[in-house]
Symmetry: C2
Subunit: 235 residues, 2 copies
């Protein structure tokens, strides 16, 4: 009762709690609920999640290694804020690497992963039709992650996953808030079809065009409010 670590009952392994902190912060960033330079004090988070500071620190460490937050010595973690220059470089790097991943993946997809990819595309389409934008954002992310998973070169696939997440964060920061666009219904489907057809070059072109479309829609002038952590993270 006396400390933040006296669990109330529902609890779980600290491992899972750490993952939960990581996920909810990541989620909040991707859905534009947490924006650049928002501070994330350890004590605040440990109270919100009712865990020890140690757990919070590990979660923040993971978030930092994924470029979601930035850690500075003796200072609170803050949500990362990639500038316009870094964002352009992120997109350029991702185009180059995702295109190569498409070439290597085309024709190398087994039935199970093919079905998984088609399922994501369908769910994404559905979420868009229903106007559930938060879901659509995560499904869009998952689509690209699934493709990266299918890349036979696992090293390249992992690098690509990092870039997918980082560009998604940049998009969340710079697209005008709540904007339903940044989505063309046919983009993901045509990438997937080219892959299934075994046409790596066409898939690579489609992926690059898709990324160009996204990058064009960013507005680097968009700058933002400050918010209350608890209301966002516990929601």
């Amino acid at each position: 009762m006396t400390t933040a670590t006296a669990r109330t009952g529902e609890s779980g392994r600290t491992e899972d709690l750490e993952a939960q902190i990581y996920s909810s912060i990541r989620h909040a960033v991707l859905t534009q609920q947490l924006t650049s330079d928002t501070r994330l004090p350890e004590l605040t988070l440990s109270k919100i999640y009712d865990v020890n500071r140690t757990v919070v620190r590990r979660a923040l460490g993971r978030l930092a290694s994924d470029h979601i937050v930035v850690l500075r010595r003796n200072q609170s973690a803050v949500i990362a804020s990639p500038g316009p220059d870094e964002t352009m470089q992120l997109f350029a790097a991702r185009r180059h690497i995702e295109a190569e991943a498409m070439r290597q993946t085309a024709g190398n997809i087994d039935n199970k992963t093919r079905e998984a990819i088609e399922k994501v595309v369908a769910e994404e389409h559905h979420a868009h039709a229903e106007g559930v934008h938060d879901d659509r954002i995560h499904l869009s992310l998952r689509f690209h992650e699934r493709l990266a998973d299918a890349c036979p070169n696992r090293v390249l696939g992992q690098i690509l996953q990092d870039l997918i997440l980082r560009t998604s964060i940049a998009v969340a920061l710079y697209k005008v808030p709540g904007m339903a666009a940044c989505y063309r219904a046919t983009d993901h489907r045509s990438i997937a079809e080219a892959l299934f057809d075994g046409d790596g070059e066409r898939a690579a072109r489609a992926a690059c065009e898709h990324l160009n479309y996204l990058e064009d829609r960013l507005n680097y002038a968009t700058r933002i409010r400050r918010v209350d952590l608890a209301t966002i993270l516990t929601g």
Copy 2:
């Protein structure tokens, strides 16, 4: 006097101590003194370096994020051991990315970085001539790191640096111990010259050939002894 944290005098900020632990373990791995699966208990390291376990843990965390060691829950950190398959994928990914970095860097090198690169090449040549293999290994690593630094796309440059380190570790693990080869005097020089000439395509080709030469010289059968940490890390 009673604890490992009562410094004996020379000491320094924990920040520097952490960096020192990181560097010496990294050094030992690159020079084949520490090999795959060697365990690195926190208490052992904290005694060797006369620091708190917390510092050791942070250092191990950095080593893990650089793929130099692997962390498993409730188990000691161990030196990473990329298998033949992962090593091949590392080389393939590095070839693709380093080639692109060469294309982007060619013709974009200012005088100061050019001089720095030429200096490394000269030092490397000297170290090879004198037979100081440990120095040569680090200078070879630094040569590629300098090129990666010069890449105008910093995101791509950072990804490349990660791959350079990981491939170097794989080389350390799989080249026959003490082998003086894995070095062709002209390789680095011809890459540098192509870059200075502004011929990105030639630089990319030279880099790929260089990597192919290295990869061809690996022996995946090489497997190794167990050793005493203190004698290696304090030396």
